[in-house]
Symmetry: C2
Subunit: 410 residues, 2 copies
């Protein structure tokens, strides 16, 4: 008998029929003898509807009130799922965040979970009940309702699994697992049976939007085995584990991520002296613009080219600041591009295998793709290329690293 | 400076525009130097929508879950109104039932308030804040959300006013006060400046659906002055007070209520012996059928006619039980009618004035209206007549008791 946390997202909760479908899935697990704790999101679109209503009154109103309003979305779905379970003969009991309680800090709309008292949920499980817990929400020390920010229900699921010392946290969603790359770009993309937390973090942050990144961090920190599974198609999904020990047997590369939302700026020919990076990044950061990649090349003439990428929405503002800084710093000028894309190769196997980068660059060169920018980490190599080559690059790399085939070792 | 509780119903909360209108009203009171605590209902139609959703899954599901779901309606409007107030420069803070807390028993969907800890609300008022409290809901000793049943927001308003020792509880609604009778039936109906709790109870229970009856009982019990005012039209409304001391100066009759939802059953010619009433009413009550009027006449032949009224929805079931009982008790048979209506004259002045009943019956007789059933209480005389005579009866009595004119004494 295992204790499993199930988390169902908004799409899975999108209608009475779907809620009843979820209830059947939970009932099935219980029939196999497992204990199940369920975490749910609001019906798809409901959180947006509620926040839109609040913003129509006061776009920058008190965030405590926004949370008070937004948290009702999950309060409805927990009740509905509990009713659906009981109708199927599965005793169930719904819990809002404060009823558990799930204690958070007071950062409304982006609160962080501080502690969970899982005592009632454990007692319910032992008494044969299925607790149905509202995701995305908690309570702060003043008794105010807080929300965890977008996708926070994944984090609730993982945090509850950690607090309950559950055997697994299963995230039910509308995809049947984590893929080697986006199947819409490369139809030969393959579902991964398992992947490490680190790889998942790189894939998630790079645009494979299967799981909220904070939930993966959380799962890694508390060593909660995490599984991404489809609500609608039966299957094993993808297990996200520590398993660093079996690393040698892992395939070299787990997947290929890409991100179309970036823009590149280069402050060219900056007289090279200590503090240049801070002089450029400081004002960008102060303007609340997030920077993704940063590359600096020292030239032969005592000047340096400083290149970074920002979200396309911030491009115009970043360019303006860049131009001002170029003048102030005596740089030659600013080059920039918005028709670019970042493609990243991710895999823990990289750590212990040389030659991955060169194999990647060779494959791209053979396909006639020019690389504008390179950045590497321990388990990731990212390149910035022209956007028109994106699909070609993804497919080329998918083939070069043999991702279509099932891994040769399990 | 007075402390006033405002209660706004679903119609007043029906849209963003209306919520902003309410915020302006509250802001106006504050500008006059008053402290205001606001109680609100869910947006009109929202509670029904939520309960329908729940019932579509499990029509007779766990009522704890129904409450969990239904309580979200007010949680949204408290947040929205707090935002609207703050936008107008009025500091505000929303409270769900459990955040106050408003403690109730555990009778889900029809909970009763046991106690209110008004400390936080009082501190808010003293700090210049307007607390906005969710009506209709509370929390039981197990930490479960409860609801007070339909119209429960009125009760919340009165209970809060009692707990805060407020100077007045103002119920804002879509009518501008309590009338001598329904203006749709008698266009000459007049708004009452004031009325006693007892009269209001009789008028409310008899179908003048301005206020939830429990809230009036509560207001009477805790001596909270209650005022019914229109959200949309400025005016003094109707004050509901104790003021029994000035009874001699009160008009004899306050109003005329009527109820079209009843059906009449007579078990005729029952052999008269002790226990007959219980023998008939017992099985009706066990079938969960509520009885309104009860009249028993002892005949000359040692038999008795036992007549009672039930809601028309329960008529078929009551008739079936009545027929079975008639056979068992050796009665002559069962007569019944659904095309009846109850018309009631209400007024505390009745207590000290003889002749009201005879004046009433004379007026009805003069209009050619036959009385089928009579029942009296200290401050009320009800008659059951044929439904087609209802409007005629109401107008006849309205005129006979001089209700069109302003009362001759204030």
């Amino acid at each position: 008998m295992a204790l499993i946390v199930h988390k169902y997202g908004g799409t899975s909760m999108g209608s009475v029929e779907r809620i009843e479908h979820v209830a059947r899935k939970v009932a099935g697990f219980r029939q196999q003898g497992h204990q199940v704790v369920v975490v749910v999101s609001a019906m798809s679109g409901e959180t947006d509807r509620l926040l839109k209503l609040a913003k129509s009154i006061a776009p920058r109103g008190n965030q405590r009130e926004f949370d008070q309003i937004a948290a009702t979305g999950e309060q409805v779905t927990i009740g509905l799922l509990a009713l659906a379970l009981e109708k199927m003969g599965v005793p169930a009991k719904s819990y809002t965040g404060w009823q558990v309680p799930i204690r958070t800090d007071s950062a409304h709309m982006k609160a962080r979970i501080e502690s969970i008292d899982a005592e009632k949920l454990r007692a319910d499980c032992d008494a044969g009940l299925v607790p149905v817990v509202a995701g995305f929400q908690g309570i702060d020390e003043n008794g105010a309702i807080t929300t965890l920010g977008r996708g926070g229900s994944d984090t609730t699921g993982v945090a509850l699994a950690a607090a309950l010392k559950a055997d697994e946290c299963q995230i039910y969603t509308d995809v049947d697992g984590v893929y080697t790359t986006d199947p819409r770009v490369e139809p030969k993309a393959r579902r991964l049976d398992k992947i490490t937390f680190e790889e998942m973090l790189e894939l998630a942050s790079l645009g494979s939007k299967v799981l909220q990144i904070r939930s993966v961090e959380f799962a890694g920190k508390y060593k909660v085995p995490l599984r991404v599974v489809s609500t609608f198609v039966d299957g094993p999904g993808t297990l996200i584990t520590l398993e660093d020990s079996t690393m040698m047997e892992e395939p070299l590369i787990s997947g290929i991520a890409f991100n179309r939302d970036e823009a590149q700026l280069t402050v060219a020919g900056v007289p090279d002296r200590p503090g240049i990076a801070a002089a450029i990044l400081g004002p960008i950061g102060e303007a609340n613009i997030e920077i993704d990649m940063i590359v600096q090349n020292v030239g032969a003439d005592g000047t340096t080219d400083f290149t970074f990428t920002v979200h396309r929405n911030d491009y115009e503002r970043a360019l303006e600041i860049g131009r001002r800084l170029a003048t102030e710093l005596g740089a030659k000028g600013v080059n920039s591009a918005t028709d670019i894309v970042k493609v990243s190769l991710v895999g823990v196997g990289m750590r212990s295998h040389a030659g991955i980068a060169s194999k990647m660059f060779t494959a791209l060169a053979a396909a006639g793709i020019n690389i504008r920018m390179i950045s590497t980490s321990e388990i990731k190599i990212s390149v910035v290329i022209e956007e028109i080559y994106m699909e070609l690059a993804v497919r080329t790399l998918h083939k070069a690293f043999g991702l279509e085939a099932a891994p040769s070792v399990a």
